[in-house]
Subunit: 207 residues, 3 copies
């Protein structure tokens, strides 16, 4: 049996493990945009991260099921781990489509968006790390506000990318493929904001 | 400090203020479809309404945070104000795309849908106004049923608009642009139904 | 007045009735893919099933409103019936587009996906039937795991179908039409997984 304290620690461990998978997946996606000739390998790596994310999510839900005491509301922990997993799923869906649709080369807009995404996931991982110590949250609030800002940046980038795509492209099928990939990438950034909202809700209830 | 009563009043004031921004945004969108040569100006105006909507939402959530007593369930007020804001966000997204995608002229179908949207938002504003006085809700039920009906009308219009687009258009990129704008407009009408559902839930719990 | 027991029975009856409409709608969609020359008739039949689904949903929500005692959490029953209705809505939306967009013939991929969908809905109906008797749930767990598996199959089929569409099609407008129909069909299968998740949550809380 575990003491209350050790039980708490295990939730924080799992949430941090989950956020580390999120960062790793976003970094692999940015690497994919930089190093596109290695695409087969990097897409497989993202696929494996997606399984890792599922595994951490299931471990967290299983621990919730057998725990009487949790550091925050049961539902909030569930929402937080699931929404982190949603980020990974969107990245995996976007990355997979690059190879599935036989995209020959990536665009500067995609590279730009993956940089925004990496930054947002790192801020989230920082904030998740601070959940252990809500009495002394450090620069958590600033980090979360920055995630909201990055969501706006991602939105503006996506609009500009799609407008450019529509202006310049000549092959409508290629336009459709890229529209889908851009939208999935932007959605991954949106999901980071969902996670930021969830963390803010937890902080509000617990301070 | 405020008495319980005055506190209640402030929630109703904010919800009404929010619903007024919704109506104003929908009206500007209808104006955009009628008066498309003024598009730059009207799209900026919608953009400002979108900020107003965010501001009312934040004020409402802040008031919720510091209030011990609320006229309805805390969560219902939160859901209601957020869903009203969702209507505004969809309209803003649709309107922005008209200029972003350099659409040269609008279609009769768009004008038709914005009329449906204005009607739905006005009915919602009426119903929100009646929340102050649930003992005597007047024609609230009829109004909300009419919103459900308008959602069906919006749906049918959208299907007809997209089918016509597919039948008649020759430029596939233009088809993609319009498909997105039509779908966002229909989604704004769908969000009106979400708001109607939320209000119906509140009425059910509080009468 | 009803005894507690008879009241419980009525909820199970309605949930089973709902799941039967889901299965019937999926079967009609599979029939549509097999027997496409009868499309007008089958699409109308699906449309009627969509109304039947709405009716069972409303009956269930009305019974919830007037019942003090429910066999499971009030919210879980509401979520379950609504999510079953979501499956029907997606099928109806997909089927309607086949005639609306004047699709001349269906593809083998569509037929394949409707088979997956029928299988998933039958498993759900089995699981819903077992809710009456959670002490002795039979092979419910296996059935629900199979639904998760079918969701993955549906996902893979959809990716392959869309990739093939992009590779082989020459008419971009036709590609857009099929992309939408394929995505709606996959979403119907996704909704089956949502229902499976809801049932699993109910089982977890009640055993």
């Amino acid at each position: 049996m575990f003491s209350i304290l050790s039980r708490d620690t295990r939730f924080f461990d799992l949430l941090e493990k989950g956020s580390a998978v999120v960062v790793r997946t976003a970094e692999a996606y940015a690497e994919l945009a930089q190093n596109y000739s290695n695409r087969e390998q990097i897409v497989s790596q993202i696929r494996r991260s997606e399984h890792d994310g599922d595994s951490v999510t299931h471990q967290t839900l299983a621990l919730l099921d057998k725990s009487f005491i949790t550091p925050f509301d049961r539902e909030d922990i569930q929402t937080l781990i699931k929404r982190m997993d949603d980020i990974i799923d969107e990245i995996d869906a976007a990355a997979k489509r690059l190879t599935l649709y036989r995209i020959a080369e990536v665009t500067p807009w995609l590279a730009k968006q993956t940089v925004v995404l990496v930054r947002a996931t790192r801020l989230i991982a920082d904030a998740v790390g601070q959940l252990r110590n809500l009495k002394n949250p450090g620069r958590m609030q600033e980090h979360l506000i920055e995630v909201h800002h990055l969501e706006n940046v991602g939105d503006d980038n996506n609009h500009a990318a799609v407008a450019e795509l529509y202006e310049t492209a000549t092959d409508p099928i290629l336009v459709m493929k890229w529209k889908e990939i851009y939208d999935l990438t932007e959605r991954a950034i949106d999901r980071c904001e969902d996670v930021a909202n969830t963390i803010e809700g937890i902080v509000l209830k617990n301070t």
